[in-house]
Protein backbone atom coordinates (compact mmCIF):
# COMPACT_ATOMS: atom_id res chain seq x y z
CA UNK A 1 0.00 0.00 0.00
CA UNK A 2 1.43 3.38 -0.98
CA UNK A 3 2.26 5.98 1.63
CA UNK A 4 0.96 9.51 1.19
CA UNK A 5 2.66 11.06 4.22
CA UNK A 6 5.84 9.86 5.82
CA UNK A 7 7.34 11.46 8.90
CA UNK A 8 10.73 10.85 10.47
CA UNK A 9 12.00 11.93 13.85
CA UNK A 10 9.42 14.66 14.26
CA UNK A 11 9.83 16.61 17.48
CA UNK A 12 7.96 19.74 18.51
CA UNK A 13 9.05 22.21 21.15
CA UNK A 14 6.92 24.88 22.78
CA UNK A 15 9.67 27.24 23.81
CA UNK A 16 12.11 24.87 25.49
CA UNK A 17 9.57 22.29 26.49
CA UNK A 18 9.37 19.25 24.25
CA UNK A 19 5.77 18.41 23.37
CA UNK A 20 6.41 15.47 21.07
CA UNK A 21 9.51 13.40 20.71
CA UNK A 22 10.91 11.66 17.63
CA UNK A 23 7.74 10.46 16.01
CA UNK A 24 8.11 8.15 13.01
CA UNK A 25 4.76 7.61 11.42
CA UNK A 26 3.61 6.84 7.86
CA UNK A 27 0.09 7.14 6.52
CA UNK A 28 -1.46 4.92 3.87
CA UNK A 29 -3.33 6.52 1.06
CA UNK A 30 -7.15 6.16 1.11
CA UNK A 31 -7.19 4.86 4.64
CA UNK A 32 -8.52 6.28 7.87
CA UNK A 33 -5.82 6.50 10.50
CA UNK A 34 -6.78 7.27 14.07
CA UNK A 35 -4.47 8.94 16.56
CA UNK A 36 -5.49 8.06 20.11
CA UNK A 37 -4.00 8.70 23.52
CA UNK A 38 -4.65 10.56 26.74
CA UNK A 39 -4.87 14.38 26.88
CA UNK A 40 -1.51 16.05 26.52
CA UNK A 41 0.02 13.09 24.73
CA UNK A 42 0.85 15.25 21.72
CA UNK A 43 -1.51 13.79 19.13
CA UNK A 44 -3.11 17.12 18.23
CA UNK A 45 0.28 18.81 18.17
CA UNK A 46 1.53 16.14 15.80
CA UNK A 47 -1.57 16.48 13.61
CA UNK A 48 -1.06 20.22 13.34
CA UNK A 49 2.47 19.60 12.00
CA UNK A 50 1.08 17.84 8.97
CA UNK A 51 -0.32 21.02 7.43
CA UNK A 52 2.04 23.32 9.29
CA UNK A 53 -0.65 24.93 11.41
CA UNK A 54 1.92 25.08 14.21
CA UNK A 55 3.63 27.83 12.22
CA UNK A 56 0.83 30.14 13.37
CA UNK A 57 1.77 29.79 17.03
CA UNK A 58 4.68 31.82 18.30
CA UNK A 59 7.54 30.04 19.95
CA UNK A 60 6.99 26.63 18.37
CA UNK A 61 9.88 24.78 16.74
CA UNK A 62 9.44 21.63 14.71
CA UNK A 63 12.35 19.37 13.84
CA UNK A 64 12.55 16.20 11.78
CA UNK A 65 11.10 15.64 8.34
CA UNK A 66 7.58 15.20 7.05
CA UNK A 67 7.10 14.26 3.41
CA UNK A 68 3.89 14.60 1.47
CA UNK A 69 3.99 12.47 -1.70
CA UNK A 70 7.76 12.38 -1.31
CA UNK A 71 8.18 16.15 -0.98
CA UNK A 72 9.50 17.68 2.21
CA UNK A 73 6.82 20.02 3.58
CA UNK A 74 9.37 22.04 5.55
CA UNK A 75 11.59 22.77 2.57
CA UNK A 76 11.73 26.38 1.43
CA UNK A 77 10.33 25.38 -1.97
CA UNK A 78 7.14 24.12 -0.35
CA UNK A 79 4.31 26.58 -0.96
CA UNK A 80 2.48 26.60 2.35
CA UNK A 81 -0.77 27.72 0.73
CA UNK A 82 -0.67 24.75 -1.64
CA UNK A 83 0.23 22.45 1.23
CA UNK A 84 -2.89 23.51 3.12
CA UNK A 85 -5.02 23.05 0.01
CA UNK A 86 -3.69 19.50 -0.30
CA UNK A 87 -3.91 18.78 3.42
CA UNK A 88 -7.19 20.19 4.72
CA UNK A 89 -8.23 20.40 8.34
CA UNK A 90 -11.44 20.08 10.37
CA UNK A 91 -11.38 21.51 13.88
CA UNK A 92 -12.83 20.36 17.16
CA UNK A 93 -15.53 23.00 17.35
CA UNK A 94 -17.74 23.49 14.31
CA UNK A 95 -16.64 26.90 13.07
CA UNK A 96 -18.83 28.06 10.21
CA UNK A 97 -18.24 31.60 9.00
CA UNK A 98 -21.15 34.00 9.59
CA UNK A 99 -22.12 33.73 5.93
CA UNK A 100 -24.72 31.71 4.08
CA UNK A 101 -24.29 27.94 3.75
CA UNK A 102 -23.48 28.46 0.07
CA UNK A 103 -20.84 31.11 0.78
CA UNK A 104 -19.27 28.95 3.49
CA UNK A 105 -18.59 26.13 1.05
CA UNK A 106 -17.68 28.59 -1.70
CA UNK A 107 -15.02 30.22 0.49
CA UNK A 108 -12.17 27.87 -0.41
CA UNK A 109 -13.19 27.81 -4.06
CA UNK A 110 -13.22 31.58 -4.30
CA UNK A 111 -9.74 31.62 -2.79
CA UNK A 112 -8.66 29.65 -5.83
CA UNK A 113 -10.14 32.29 -8.10
CA UNK A 114 -13.18 30.27 -9.15
CA UNK A 115 -15.85 32.86 -9.92
CA UNK A 116 -18.13 31.24 -12.49
CA UNK A 117 -21.45 30.50 -10.87
CA UNK A 118 -22.01 27.25 -12.75
CA UNK A 119 -18.74 25.75 -11.58
CA UNK A 120 -19.33 26.99 -8.04
CA UNK A 121 -22.82 25.47 -8.00
CA UNK A 122 -21.54 22.09 -9.16
CA UNK A 123 -18.60 21.99 -6.78
CA UNK A 124 -20.70 23.14 -3.82
CA UNK A 125 -23.39 20.55 -4.46
CA UNK A 126 -20.72 17.86 -4.78
CA UNK A 127 -19.05 18.85 -1.52
CA UNK A 128 -22.36 19.03 0.36
CA UNK A 129 -23.36 15.63 -1.00
CA UNK A 130 -20.01 14.20 0.06
CA UNK A 131 -20.51 15.44 3.59
CA UNK A 132 -24.10 14.09 3.54
CA UNK A 133 -25.58 17.51 4.17
CA UNK A 134 -27.07 18.21 0.74
CA UNK A 135 -30.50 16.68 1.31
CA UNK A 136 -30.95 18.72 4.49
CA UNK A 137 -29.88 22.10 3.15
CA UNK A 138 -30.55 22.06 -0.59
CA UNK A 139 -33.59 24.32 -0.17
CA UNK A 140 -31.94 26.70 2.26
CA UNK A 141 -28.50 27.25 0.78
CA UNK A 142 -28.74 30.97 1.39
CA UNK A 143 -29.57 30.72 5.08
CA UNK A 144 -26.89 31.68 7.54
CA UNK A 145 -24.52 28.85 8.47
CA UNK A 146 -25.33 29.41 12.14
CA UNK A 147 -28.96 28.46 11.57
CA UNK A 148 -27.83 24.81 11.37
CA UNK A 149 -27.55 22.44 14.32
CA UNK A 150 -24.13 21.64 15.78
CA UNK A 151 -23.78 18.38 13.85
CA UNK A 152 -24.91 20.02 10.62
CA UNK A 153 -22.45 22.84 11.22
CA UNK A 154 -19.60 20.35 11.55
CA UNK A 155 -20.67 18.62 8.33
CA UNK A 156 -20.78 22.05 6.72
CA UNK A 157 -17.19 22.57 7.85
CA UNK A 158 -16.27 19.19 6.37
CA UNK A 159 -17.96 20.18 3.09
CA UNK A 160 -16.01 23.44 3.13
CA UNK A 161 -12.77 21.47 3.33
CA UNK A 162 -13.79 18.84 0.78
CA UNK A 163 -14.79 21.51 -1.76
CA UNK A 164 -11.13 22.47 -2.08
CA UNK A 165 -10.49 18.82 -3.10
CA UNK A 166 -7.65 18.04 -0.73
CA UNK A 167 -5.84 14.69 -0.81
CA UNK A 168 -5.56 14.40 2.95
CA UNK A 169 -8.05 15.63 5.53
CA UNK A 170 -6.92 16.10 9.12
CA UNK A 171 -9.66 15.95 11.75
CA UNK A 172 -8.93 17.19 15.26
CA UNK A 173 -11.53 15.53 17.49
CA UNK A 174 -14.28 16.47 15.05
CA UNK A 175 -17.11 14.88 17.01
CA UNK A 176 -16.15 15.66 20.60
CA UNK A 177 -18.53 18.63 20.71
CA UNK A 178 -21.41 16.70 19.15
CA UNK A 179 -24.18 14.38 20.27
CA UNK A 180 -23.98 10.64 19.47
CA UNK A 181 -26.35 10.79 16.49
CA UNK A 182 -24.46 13.63 14.84
CA UNK A 183 -21.20 11.83 15.59
CA UNK A 184 -22.44 8.66 13.93
CA UNK A 185 -23.45 10.65 10.84
CA UNK A 186 -19.98 12.12 10.59
CA UNK A 187 -18.38 8.70 11.07
CA UNK A 188 -20.53 7.29 8.25
CA UNK A 189 -19.53 10.23 6.07
CA UNK A 190 -15.84 9.60 6.62
CA UNK A 191 -16.08 5.86 5.94
CA UNK A 192 -18.03 6.43 2.75
CA UNK A 193 -15.44 8.93 1.49
CA UNK A 194 -12.26 7.04 2.18
CA UNK A 195 -11.89 5.89 -1.42
CA UNK A 196 -11.47 9.52 -2.42
CA UNK A 197 -9.57 11.00 0.49
CA UNK A 198 -7.07 10.03 3.13
CA UNK A 199 -8.29 10.80 6.64
CA UNK A 200 -6.20 11.26 9.75
CA UNK A 201 -8.38 11.68 12.81
CA UNK A 202 -7.46 12.56 16.37
CA UNK A 203 -10.04 11.17 18.74
CA UNK A 204 -10.58 10.68 22.44
CA UNK A 205 -13.23 8.16 21.69
CA UNK A 206 -11.65 4.72 21.43
CA UNK A 207 -14.85 3.13 20.17
CA UNK A 208 -14.88 5.64 17.38
CA UNK A 209 -11.29 4.77 16.46
CA UNK A 210 -12.07 1.07 16.42
CA UNK A 211 -15.26 1.56 14.40
CA UNK A 212 -13.96 3.66 11.55
CA UNK A 213 -10.17 3.50 11.30
CA UNK A 214 -7.95 1.12 9.38
CA UNK A 215 -4.83 2.03 11.31
CA UNK A 216 -4.41 3.32 14.82
CA UNK A 217 -1.49 5.11 16.41
CA UNK A 218 -1.34 5.26 20.20
CA UNK A 219 0.42 8.32 21.59
CA UNK A 220 1.68 8.55 25.14
CA UNK A 221 3.68 11.35 26.75
CA UNK A 222 4.72 12.82 23.43
CA UNK A 223 5.92 9.50 22.04
CA UNK A 224 4.42 7.09 19.59
CA UNK A 225 3.84 4.07 21.79
CA UNK A 226 2.36 1.70 19.26
CA UNK A 227 1.17 1.81 15.66
CA UNK A 228 -0.52 -1.00 13.81
CA UNK A 229 -3.67 -2.07 12.03
CA UNK A 230 -6.67 -1.08 14.11
CA UNK A 231 -7.89 -4.65 14.63
CA UNK A 232 -4.51 -5.81 15.81
CA UNK A 233 -4.00 -2.85 18.11
CA UNK A 234 -7.37 -3.21 19.77
CA UNK A 235 -7.45 -7.02 20.03
CA UNK A 236 -3.85 -7.89 20.53
CA UNK A 237 -1.64 -4.91 21.35
CA UNK A 238 2.11 -5.48 21.59
CA UNK A 239 2.73 -3.15 24.50
CA UNK A 240 1.31 -3.45 27.96
CA UNK A 241 0.69 0.29 28.22
CA UNK A 242 -1.48 0.19 25.10
CA UNK A 243 -3.51 -2.60 26.57
CA UNK A 244 -3.82 -0.73 29.87
CA UNK A 245 -4.99 2.43 28.13
CA UNK A 246 -7.51 0.57 25.98
CA UNK A 247 -8.86 -1.15 29.07
CA UNK A 248 -9.27 2.14 30.84
CA UNK A 249 -6.58 1.60 33.45
CA UNK A 250 -5.33 5.19 32.93
CA UNK A 251 -5.96 8.25 30.76
Amino acid sequence: MSKIITSENVSVYYGKQRAINNINLDFNVHNITALIGPSGSGKSTYLRCLNRMNDLINNVTVSGSIKLNGKDIFSPQMDIVNLRKTVGMVFQQPIPFPFSIYENVAYGLRLNGIKEKKILDVRIEKALRQSALWEEVKDSLHDNGFSLSGGQQQRLCIARVLAVEPEVVLLDEPTSALDPISSAQIEDTLVSLKNEFTFIIVTHNMQQASRISDWTAFFLDGKLEEYSATKKLFLNPDKEKTSDYLNGKFG
Partner: protein, 313 residues
Protein backbone atom coordinates in the same frame (compact mmCIF):
# COMPACT_ATOMS: atom_id res chain seq x y z
CA UNK B 1 -38.63 37.70 72.04
CA UNK B 2 -39.93 41.10 71.15
CA UNK B 3 -36.52 42.03 69.85
CA UNK B 4 -36.44 39.08 67.49
CA UNK B 5 -39.92 39.88 66.26
CA UNK B 6 -38.90 43.44 65.62
CA UNK B 7 -35.78 42.34 63.78
CA UNK B 8 -37.74 39.96 61.59
CA UNK B 9 -40.28 42.59 60.67
CA UNK B 10 -37.66 45.15 59.80
CA UNK B 11 -35.74 45.22 56.56
CA UNK B 12 -32.26 43.79 56.98
CA UNK B 13 -29.14 45.88 56.58
CA UNK B 14 -28.46 44.33 53.17
CA UNK B 15 -31.97 45.08 51.95
CA UNK B 16 -31.60 48.68 53.05
CA UNK B 17 -28.25 48.95 51.25
CA UNK B 18 -29.93 47.56 48.17
CA UNK B 19 -32.71 50.12 48.23
CA UNK B 20 -30.32 52.99 48.92
CA UNK B 21 -28.22 51.91 45.96
CA UNK B 22 -31.27 51.62 43.79
CA UNK B 23 -32.43 55.07 44.88
CA UNK B 24 -29.08 56.66 44.06
CA UNK B 25 -28.91 55.15 40.58
CA UNK B 26 -32.54 56.00 39.76
CA UNK B 27 -31.95 59.51 41.04
CA UNK B 28 -28.94 60.00 38.75
CA UNK B 29 -30.75 58.50 35.79
CA UNK B 30 -33.66 60.85 36.39
CA UNK B 31 -31.37 63.89 36.49
CA UNK B 32 -29.67 62.85 33.26
CA UNK B 33 -33.02 62.14 31.64
CA UNK B 34 -34.37 65.54 32.70
CA UNK B 35 -31.21 67.20 31.39
CA UNK B 36 -31.45 65.51 27.99
CA UNK B 37 -35.14 66.25 27.64
CA UNK B 38 -34.72 69.89 28.66
CA UNK B 39 -31.83 70.38 26.23
CA UNK B 40 -33.90 68.93 23.41
CA UNK B 41 -36.94 70.95 24.46
CA UNK B 42 -34.94 74.16 24.83
CA UNK B 43 -33.23 73.93 21.45
CA UNK B 44 -36.39 72.81 19.72
CA UNK B 45 -38.54 75.59 21.13
CA UNK B 46 -35.89 78.23 20.44
CA UNK B 47 -35.19 76.77 17.03
CA UNK B 48 -38.83 76.80 16.05
CA UNK B 49 -39.46 80.40 17.21
CA UNK B 50 -38.20 81.76 13.92
CA UNK B 51 -40.76 79.73 12.01
CA UNK B 52 -43.74 80.43 14.27
CA UNK B 53 -43.10 83.88 15.71
CA UNK B 54 -41.26 85.40 12.76
CA UNK B 55 -43.17 83.43 10.11
CA UNK B 56 -40.16 82.30 8.13
CA UNK B 57 -41.01 79.51 5.72
CA UNK B 58 -39.20 76.23 6.36
CA UNK B 59 -38.48 75.90 2.64
CA UNK B 60 -36.83 79.34 2.60
CA UNK B 61 -34.67 78.35 5.55
CA UNK B 62 -33.57 75.04 4.05
CA UNK B 63 -33.27 76.00 0.39
CA UNK B 64 -32.32 79.69 0.07
CA UNK B 65 -28.66 80.53 -0.17
CA UNK B 66 -28.36 83.98 1.37
CA UNK B 67 -27.70 84.18 5.09
CA UNK B 68 -28.05 87.65 6.48
CA UNK B 69 -30.50 87.61 9.37
CA UNK B 70 -29.88 91.26 10.26
CA UNK B 71 -31.37 92.68 7.08
CA UNK B 72 -34.47 92.31 4.91
CA UNK B 73 -34.45 91.49 1.20
CA UNK B 74 -36.30 93.44 -1.51
CA UNK B 75 -39.60 91.76 -0.59
CA UNK B 76 -39.19 92.75 3.04
CA UNK B 77 -38.44 89.18 4.10
CA UNK B 78 -35.47 88.33 6.29
CA UNK B 79 -32.61 86.55 4.55
CA UNK B 80 -32.14 83.30 6.44
CA UNK B 81 -31.19 80.74 3.79
CA UNK B 82 -29.18 78.11 5.65
CA UNK B 83 -28.37 75.98 2.63
CA UNK B 84 -24.73 77.18 2.34
CA UNK B 85 -24.00 76.08 5.92
CA UNK B 86 -25.82 72.79 5.51
CA UNK B 87 -23.94 72.05 2.29
CA UNK B 88 -20.60 72.99 3.82
CA UNK B 89 -21.21 70.94 6.95
CA UNK B 90 -22.08 67.88 4.92
CA UNK B 91 -19.14 68.46 2.57
CA UNK B 92 -16.48 68.60 5.27
CA UNK B 93 -18.10 65.67 7.10
CA UNK B 94 -18.37 63.36 4.11
CA UNK B 95 -15.04 64.32 2.58
CA UNK B 96 -13.14 63.89 5.81
CA UNK B 97 -14.82 60.52 6.45
CA UNK B 98 -13.94 59.35 2.93
CA UNK B 99 -10.38 60.49 3.45
CA UNK B 100 -10.01 59.03 6.96
CA UNK B 101 -11.65 55.64 6.48
CA UNK B 102 -8.97 53.94 4.35
CA UNK B 103 -6.24 55.18 6.68
CA UNK B 104 -8.21 54.10 9.73
CA UNK B 105 -8.83 50.62 8.32
CA UNK B 106 -5.18 50.25 7.32
CA UNK B 107 -3.93 51.28 10.76
CA UNK B 108 -6.51 49.05 12.46
CA UNK B 109 -5.51 46.07 10.31
CA UNK B 110 -1.88 46.70 11.10
CA UNK B 111 -2.68 46.78 14.81
CA UNK B 112 -4.84 43.65 14.85
CA UNK B 113 -3.26 41.46 12.18
CA UNK B 114 0.37 42.42 11.72
CA UNK B 115 1.88 44.24 14.68
CA UNK B 116 3.15 42.31 17.69
CA UNK B 117 1.68 43.07 21.10
CA UNK B 118 4.17 45.82 21.90
CA UNK B 119 3.70 47.59 18.58
CA UNK B 120 -0.07 47.43 18.91
CA UNK B 121 0.07 48.84 22.43
CA UNK B 122 2.33 51.67 21.32
CA UNK B 123 0.00 52.58 18.46
CA UNK B 124 -2.96 52.33 20.81
CA UNK B 125 -1.47 54.93 23.12
CA UNK B 126 -0.60 57.17 20.17
CA UNK B 127 -4.23 57.02 19.06
CA UNK B 128 -5.49 57.74 22.57
CA UNK B 129 -3.16 60.71 22.66
CA UNK B 130 -4.57 62.00 19.37
CA UNK B 131 -8.10 61.73 20.79
CA UNK B 132 -7.06 63.72 23.84
CA UNK B 133 -5.54 66.70 22.04
CA UNK B 134 -7.88 69.71 22.44
CA UNK B 135 -9.55 70.81 19.24
CA UNK B 136 -8.15 74.32 19.50
CA UNK B 137 -4.68 72.82 18.95
CA UNK B 138 -5.86 71.07 15.81
CA UNK B 139 -7.42 74.31 14.67
CA UNK B 140 -4.27 76.26 15.40
CA UNK B 141 -2.10 73.80 13.47
CA UNK B 142 -4.62 73.94 10.63
CA UNK B 143 -4.48 77.71 10.67
CA UNK B 144 -0.71 77.96 10.71
CA UNK B 145 0.24 74.98 8.53
CA UNK B 146 -2.64 73.74 6.40
CA UNK B 147 -4.16 77.06 5.39
CA UNK B 148 -0.85 78.62 4.20
CA UNK B 149 -0.03 75.42 2.33
CA UNK B 150 -3.34 75.46 0.47
CA UNK B 151 -2.90 79.17 -0.19
CA UNK B 152 0.51 78.41 -1.66
CA UNK B 153 -0.74 75.59 -3.90
CA UNK B 154 -4.16 76.79 -5.01
CA UNK B 155 -3.98 80.52 -4.45
CA UNK B 156 -6.85 82.39 -2.80
CA UNK B 157 -7.02 82.73 0.93
CA UNK B 158 -6.41 79.10 1.77
CA UNK B 159 -9.48 79.02 4.01
CA UNK B 160 -12.32 76.76 2.99
CA UNK B 161 -13.74 73.27 2.80
CA UNK B 162 -10.39 71.69 1.87
CA UNK B 163 -8.65 73.08 4.94
CA UNK B 164 -11.61 72.06 7.12
CA UNK B 165 -11.56 68.58 5.62
CA UNK B 166 -7.86 68.10 6.31
CA UNK B 167 -8.14 69.25 9.91
CA UNK B 168 -11.21 67.07 10.50
CA UNK B 169 -9.46 64.13 8.82
CA UNK B 170 -6.77 64.22 11.50
CA UNK B 171 -9.36 64.68 14.24
CA UNK B 172 -11.68 61.81 13.31
CA UNK B 173 -8.92 59.40 12.26
CA UNK B 174 -8.28 58.19 15.84
CA UNK B 175 -12.01 57.84 16.53
CA UNK B 176 -12.61 55.69 13.47
CA UNK B 177 -9.39 53.76 14.01
CA UNK B 178 -9.99 52.76 17.59
CA UNK B 179 -13.59 51.69 16.94
CA UNK B 180 -12.46 49.73 13.88
CA UNK B 181 -9.78 48.03 15.97
CA UNK B 182 -12.50 46.99 18.43
CA UNK B 183 -14.63 45.50 15.69
CA UNK B 184 -11.70 43.61 14.12
CA UNK B 185 -10.62 42.28 17.52
CA UNK B 186 -14.15 40.97 17.94
CA UNK B 187 -13.72 38.68 14.92
CA UNK B 188 -13.02 35.29 16.55
CA UNK B 189 -9.43 34.06 16.31
CA UNK B 190 -10.76 30.68 15.09
CA UNK B 191 -11.96 32.23 11.85
CA UNK B 192 -8.43 33.22 10.93
CA UNK B 193 -7.14 29.71 11.59
CA UNK B 194 -9.90 28.08 9.57
CA UNK B 195 -9.31 30.44 6.70
CA UNK B 196 -5.57 29.77 6.66
CA UNK B 197 -6.18 26.03 6.93
CA UNK B 198 -8.30 26.25 3.78
CA UNK B 199 -5.28 27.55 1.91
CA UNK B 200 -5.95 31.28 2.17
CA UNK B 201 -3.05 33.69 2.27
CA UNK B 202 -2.99 36.23 5.07
CA UNK B 203 -4.19 38.95 2.74
CA UNK B 204 -7.05 36.80 1.42
CA UNK B 205 -8.04 36.08 5.01
CA UNK B 206 -8.10 39.79 5.73
CA UNK B 207 -10.17 40.98 2.83
CA UNK B 208 -12.40 37.98 2.21
CA UNK B 209 -13.13 37.18 5.84
CA UNK B 210 -12.04 39.60 8.55
CA UNK B 211 -13.15 42.81 6.85
CA UNK B 212 -16.37 41.14 5.76
CA UNK B 213 -17.23 39.92 9.24
CA UNK B 214 -16.18 43.26 10.73
CA UNK B 215 -18.21 45.39 8.31
CA UNK B 216 -21.06 46.38 10.69
CA UNK B 217 -18.50 47.46 13.27
CA UNK B 218 -16.50 49.41 10.71
CA UNK B 219 -19.65 51.18 9.50
CA UNK B 220 -20.48 52.11 13.09
CA UNK B 221 -16.96 53.48 13.46
CA UNK B 222 -17.34 55.61 10.32
CA UNK B 223 -20.68 57.01 11.47
CA UNK B 224 -19.23 57.89 14.88
CA UNK B 225 -16.41 59.66 13.07
CA UNK B 226 -18.90 61.54 10.90
CA UNK B 227 -20.92 62.57 13.94
CA UNK B 228 -17.77 63.98 15.48
CA UNK B 229 -16.85 65.81 12.27
CA UNK B 230 -20.35 67.22 11.88
CA UNK B 231 -20.41 68.56 15.42
CA UNK B 232 -16.85 69.90 15.59
CA UNK B 233 -16.98 73.68 15.94
CA UNK B 234 -13.80 75.32 17.06
CA UNK B 235 -11.14 73.72 14.86
CA UNK B 236 -13.32 74.06 11.81
CA UNK B 237 -14.17 77.65 12.57
CA UNK B 238 -10.47 78.49 12.60
CA UNK B 239 -9.82 77.25 9.06
CA UNK B 240 -13.10 77.43 7.15
CA UNK B 241 -13.18 81.20 6.49
CA UNK B 242 -16.52 81.93 8.19
CA UNK B 243 -18.35 83.48 5.28
CA UNK B 244 -21.94 82.31 5.14
CA UNK B 245 -21.98 81.99 1.38
CA UNK B 246 -22.45 79.06 -0.93
CA UNK B 247 -19.00 77.46 -1.41
CA UNK B 248 -17.93 77.70 -5.03
CA UNK B 249 -15.18 75.14 -4.72
CA UNK B 250 -13.11 73.40 -2.07
CA UNK B 251 -10.78 76.33 -1.52
CA UNK B 252 -13.26 79.19 -1.34
CA UNK B 253 -14.27 80.58 2.02
CA UNK B 254 -17.37 79.02 3.56
CA UNK B 255 -19.05 78.38 6.88
CA UNK B 256 -20.45 75.29 8.56
CA UNK B 257 -23.46 75.17 10.86
CA UNK B 258 -21.21 74.95 13.88
CA UNK B 259 -18.76 77.64 12.83
CA UNK B 260 -21.65 80.00 12.03
CA UNK B 261 -23.09 79.32 15.46
CA UNK B 262 -19.87 79.94 17.37
CA UNK B 263 -19.11 83.05 15.34
CA UNK B 264 -22.58 84.52 15.60
CA UNK B 265 -23.98 83.58 18.97
CA UNK B 266 -21.84 86.09 20.89
CA UNK B 267 -22.80 88.93 18.60
CA UNK B 268 -26.56 88.65 18.91
CA UNK B 269 -28.94 89.43 21.72
CA UNK B 270 -31.22 86.73 23.07
CA UNK B 271 -34.75 87.10 21.75
CA UNK B 272 -33.84 89.08 18.65
CA UNK B 273 -34.53 87.72 15.21
CA UNK B 274 -30.83 87.20 14.40
CA UNK B 275 -30.51 85.15 17.57
CA UNK B 276 -33.58 83.07 16.74
CA UNK B 277 -32.10 82.32 13.34
CA UNK B 278 -28.98 80.91 14.99
CA UNK B 279 -31.13 78.72 17.22
CA UNK B 280 -32.68 77.27 14.11
CA UNK B 281 -29.19 76.31 12.93
CA UNK B 282 -28.64 74.64 16.29
CA UNK B 283 -31.86 72.72 15.81
CA UNK B 284 -30.58 71.39 12.48
CA UNK B 285 -27.39 70.28 14.26
CA UNK B 286 -29.37 68.55 16.99
CA UNK B 287 -31.54 66.71 14.48
CA UNK B 288 -28.46 65.61 12.57
CA UNK B 289 -26.75 64.25 15.66
CA UNK B 290 -29.90 62.37 16.65
CA UNK B 291 -29.93 60.96 13.14
CA UNK B 292 -26.31 59.85 13.39
CA UNK B 293 -27.10 58.17 16.71
CA UNK B 294 -30.04 56.33 15.21
CA UNK B 295 -27.87 55.18 12.32
CA UNK B 296 -25.28 53.82 14.74
CA UNK B 297 -28.05 51.94 16.55
CA UNK B 298 -29.43 50.43 13.37
CA UNK B 299 -26.05 49.34 12.03
CA UNK B 300 -25.00 48.05 15.46
CA UNK B 301 -28.20 46.04 15.79
CA UNK B 302 -27.58 44.36 12.46
CA UNK B 303 -24.22 43.19 13.78
CA UNK B 304 -25.85 42.09 17.03
CA UNK B 305 -28.38 39.92 15.20
CA UNK B 306 -25.47 38.06 13.67
CA UNK B 307 -23.82 37.58 17.04
CA UNK B 308 -27.00 36.30 18.62
CA UNK B 309 -27.23 33.61 16.00
CA UNK B 310 -23.65 32.75 16.72
CA UNK B 311 -24.41 32.26 20.41
CA UNK B 312 -27.46 30.15 19.72
CA UNK B 313 -25.54 26.98 18.82
Amino acid sequence: MNNIKKELNMASKETRQDSIGRFISYFCITIIGVLVISIIYFITSRGLTMFFANHVKLSDFLLKTTWNPGTLDSHGKPEVGALPMIVTSFSVTILSAILATPFAIAVALFMTEYADKRGAKLLQSVIELLVGIPSVIYGYIGLSVVVPMIRHIYGGTGFGILAGTIVLFVMILPTITSLTVDSLRAVPQHYRQVSLSLGATKWQTIYKLILRVGTPGILTAIIFGMARAFGEALAVQMVIGNAAIMPKNLVSVASTLTSQLTTGIGNTVLGTFANNALWSLALVLLIMSLLFNTLVRIVGNKGAVKNERKNKQ
